[in-house]
């Protein structure tokens, strides 16, 4: 098997969106309210428009409904009222833009009986793509997350960080417009987490993906996003919507820079405001 040295290479079939496509809304939540069957009001009247090419973080204390919002966007459990609109996608019978959305869970959520290849092939398999037809595509995304050499390995043979890479590869194998990530790196150690942050950032820069990233880490949100939506709890709502000016190059040095510290400060203040608003 060919050895790839590069951690992340440009996925050729992916291209950055044209100027016209850029800033077009990808998905819009309209006055979404979600009440769980036990009566908990998880989200109240939440509206959010996500534009093409954005790296948007949903940040908030636990219980603010950020994961719920993400799941509703993904079509996992519909809203109690309100709607999800997909202005630029074809909608299937379930109201979902099939194949246009990739989802990365907090856990790697891999099938342990299947190889890395089999796990990444799954979304294509479910759409009826034959293994031979999918092979190139699967190997390409595996290469793009630096796992081309591990196609035949089983999940148990991989480290936590590598499992997460497989999960990301599986989410982007259908070439989605929108990548939803639900606290994907929360369970990883700090070193692995920073590394994967950089890798996701590179993927986003090179592919023109739109990303919604749920996190409870101010530092992670501040590092990754060009837009941070801070949510408050009781009831779950948008508290503030911050546009973040990021430098062209984000690397290790940026993590210690004054500019980054200032962003973290702003975001942290906003989060404190959200927590106090919920408490009062």
């Amino acid at each position: 098997m060919k050895r790839t040295v590069a951690k992340l290479s440009v996925v050729p079939a992916y291209s950055a969106p044209s100027a016209a496509e850029y800033r077009r809304p990808v998905v819009a939540m309209q006055n979404v309210t979600k009440v769980f069957s036990n009566g908990t009001l998880a989200l109240k009247d939440m509206s959010l428009e996500v534009k093409s090419g954005e790296f948007l973080s949903l940040l908030g204390p636990s219980g603010c409904g950020k994961s719920t919002a993400l799941r509703i966007i993904a079509g996992l459990g519909g809203p109690s009222s309100g709607s999800i609109d997909w202005p630029s996608s074809k909608i299937n019978s379930k109201g979902l833009p099939e194949g246009d959305v990739g989802f990365v869970f907090q856990e790697p959520t891999l099938m342990p009986w299947s190889t890395v290849f089999g796990n990444v092939y799954l979304p294509l398999k479910l759409r009826g793509v034959s293994k031979s037809a999918a092979r190139d595509k699967v190997m390409e995304v595996l290469a793009s997350v630096g796992l081309a050499d591990f196609a035949d390995a089983y999940p148990r043979e991989l480290s936590g960080g590598m499992k997460m890479r497989v999960s990301i590869a599986r989410a982007i194998v259908t070439r989605p417009k929108l990548l939803l990530m639900d606290e994907p790196f929360a369970a990883l150690d700090e070193i692995t987490r920073q590394k994967l942050n950089d890798d996701v950032l590179k993927l986003w820069e090179q592919s023109g993906l739109t990303v919604i990233f749920v996190t409870h880490s101010v530092f992670e949100a501040s590092y990754l996003s060009n837009r941070i939506v801070v949510m408050r709890a009781r009831p779950g709502q948008v508290f503030t919507d911050l546009a973040i000016e990021q430098p062209d190059i984000r690397d290790g040095a940026y993590r210690t820079s004054e500019a980054y510290r200032a962003i973290c400060q702003t975001v942290s203040d906003a989060l404190q405001g959200a927590i106090q608003a919920a408490a009062s």
Binding site: T4, G75, L126, Y154, R156, G160, T192
Partner: protein, 290 residues
């Protein structure tokens, strides 16, 4: 799962592309591996020696307790009688196990489709399971066209339940996030069943198979005791009873040895099938790597 628990080799940093995945195998010394085989073999041999010695030293008559050599001699000389009986018992055991596998898996799949189906069938399952099979045997004898069918049904009922209950449990124990994932990609229900639920329940199914395999043999023998088959086409249980009536204890022991070996063979076979299916991925079939 944290990096540390996911990686019991202690190599906790992200290994990246170029690192080979280190799977540390426990280095069992050759002498220890030898001992692992030798100890049980020596223990067994000692047990047989003591048996032999006890018979010889106390001059126990053969019709009360034969020596191991008498039993083995009987096994060889009576092979013509015992072998056909064994094939009958084996045929019942494996047919029952096969039917139990097909029936148990099929019913489990139907059960998990709907909570209402499960609730409706639940009392029947409990009644059939808690009623001692041997108590049902006389009834089965009346309804069955012949004894062999009655034996087959008895053996089937006993082997059926561990497979059914394990498979049902397995089908229900699928990772919820994986179910979400399948839903997200618009999987049809047959795809979810075939690609997710059935593979995920394999460890449970294999546990059911191992239990069911052992029980099928036991039930085939016990049912034959109850049914009291005789003459041509009867199984090992009949030969056991016959030997008892005739005080032909060596042959009785020979039949017991055959049953014991059959049980071991079934256990080894089902364990091997289980290992073959699971050894690549499931914890139960893996060596601990520390």
């Amino acid at each position: 799962m944290s990096e540390a628990t996911a990686n019991p080799t202690g190599n906790s940093a992200d290994k990246g592309t170029d690192a080979a995945v280190a799977v540390l195998r426990p280095r069992v010394a050759v002498s220890e591996r030898m001992l692992r085989i030798l100890v049980p073999v020596i223990a067994l041999a000692t047990g047989i020696m003591i048996w032999h010695w006890a018979v010889v030293a106390n001059e126990v008559p053969r019709y009360i307790l034969p020596s191991p050599f008498d039993a083995v001699t009987a096994l060889i000389t009576d092979w013509g009688t015992l072998w056909p009986a064994l094939t009958v018992t084996l045929r019942i055991t494996f047919m029952a196990l096969f039917l139990a596998l097909v029936g148990g898996v099929a019913l489990a799949i139907i059960l998990v489709q709907s909570r209402w189906i499960e609730l409706a069938l639940y009392p029947f399952a409990v009644i059939l399971q808690v009623t001692p099979m041997i108590a049902v045997a006389p009834l089965l004898l009346i309804y069955s066209p012949d004894t062999q069918t009655a034996l087959l049904i008895c053996s089937f009922i006993v082997a059926f339940f561990p497979i059914l209950s394990n498979m049902t449990q397995g089908l229900k124990s699928v990772d919820h996030n994986l179910l979400n994932l399948f839903e997200l990609y618009g999987a049809r229900s047959w795809q979810t069943l075939l690609f997710l639920k059935i593979p995920a329940s394999m460890p449970y199914f294999m546990a059911g198979l191992r239990i069911g395999g052992g029980l099928a043999l036991i039930a085939a023998v016990v049912a034959e005791f109850a049914a009291g088959s005789a003459g041509q086409g009867s199984g090992l249980a009949f030969r056991l009873l016959e030997s008892q009536f005739r005080l032909n204890l060596p042959r009785l022991f020979a039949a017991l040895i055959l049953l014991c070996c059959t049980g071991i063979a079934i256990f080894a076979l089902t364990s091997f099938v289980s290992w073959l299916t699971l050894h690549r991925w499931h914890e139960s079939a893996l060596k601990r790597e520390n």
